[in-house]
Assembly symmetry: C2
Homo-oligomer: 192 residues x 2
């Protein structure tokens, strides 16, 4: 059975390679440049091999999204544990979120803009996505204020961050004053 196991391992390894390569290519040249041909060439296999791992390009985007969501959740938690008090936690959370979006634009798109065939905000939502939302809510739930549902507050605050992240990167918002906008958001939305 050792031969089969080795093959399974190699297959899993190749799948990781595909996802990592897609992500890398997307960050380097944008998702439009991630074509099945280019991707196949980079991993040094032919195109059809991709389809033995994923149903299509959409699923590859989805895989990158899940990986990214896990990292995002980690980054958010890492940023908030060291902060002192609810207000500081929320501020750190907001900065970490926007920082992640700015540093990993392609991954951010995979999670929040592109169609990766994933279910969001439902029961069958994959764990990494739920986890990322949970990471947001852990800090934001503290400052929702009386009578305001924590989930609803988290969604709204998150939407504001998402708007800042996407409009800035799509050059719809001038890149200056990011910090002031975050301050404004935290000051007004978070009740300490």
């Amino acid at each position: 059975m050792s031969v089969q196991e080795r093959k399974q391992r190699e297959r899993a390894e190749r799948e990781r390679l595909i996802v990592a390569t897609a992500r890398e290519l997307a960050e380097q040249q944008g998702w439009d440049a991630v074509t099945t041909r280019r991707l196949a060439e980079r991993i040094e296999y032919s195109q059809p091999v991709l389809y033995s791992h994923f149903r299509g390009k959409r699923e590859i985007i989805g895989a990158v999204a899940l990986q990214g969501a896990t990292e995002l959740a980690g980054a958010l938690r890492a940023a908030t544990v060291t902060a002192d008090g609810p207000r500081a936690r929320v501020a750190a959370l907001a900065r970490a979120y926007l920082d992640f979006a700015a540093r990993n634009p392609a991954v951010y798109d995979a999670i929040f803009q592109l169609d990766g065939g994933l279910a969001y905000a439902q029961e069958d939502t994959p764990e990494p996505l739920k986890g990322a939302f949970a990471a947001l809510q852990e800090s934001l739930g503290e400052v929702a204020g009386n009578g305001v549902h924590a989930g609803l507050f988290t969604e709204t605050f998150w939407a504001a961050l998402h708007g800042l992240a996407t409009l800035t990167r799509a050059r719809r918002l001038p890149p200056e004053y990011i910090e002031q906008r975050v301050e404004l958001l935290v000051d007004r939305l978070a009740l300490v």
Copy 2:
């Protein structure tokens, strides 16, 4: 000279037809379905005719975006004039904005998500885009609060609306409770 004028009129009319058809097709089946072939077929001309009006598909998206921005500005102003007092104006503005995004998803994408080759937040930004932002600022500037720059406040509030609009439509946010989220935003961000 009347012949030339007639030709010019006809050309302009055809250009309007192209933009209107692209918009219609995009709203019906999404921007992915707006291919130069389909577009050409719908206007009953061959593909190259499109390229005698626009440099490419990107410019067609840009044309739809400009048209949409003008409409958006109008919708925002129409919604705010009847409202009584700054708080009500902002609430009406927010609802009108989200309503526009929900009713014209493809146009909204053309304005705020897709690449239409337009300049944003710069001196050479086309007038319709400046106008839409101005329409936002007219109502939002009133509730920025002391010491907060009106432009910065407008950008931040707008980003929050944009986040709600896009996340809702991309099914990242559950479609219920939209009104509550808007209430929350207006209550907290707008200083009356």
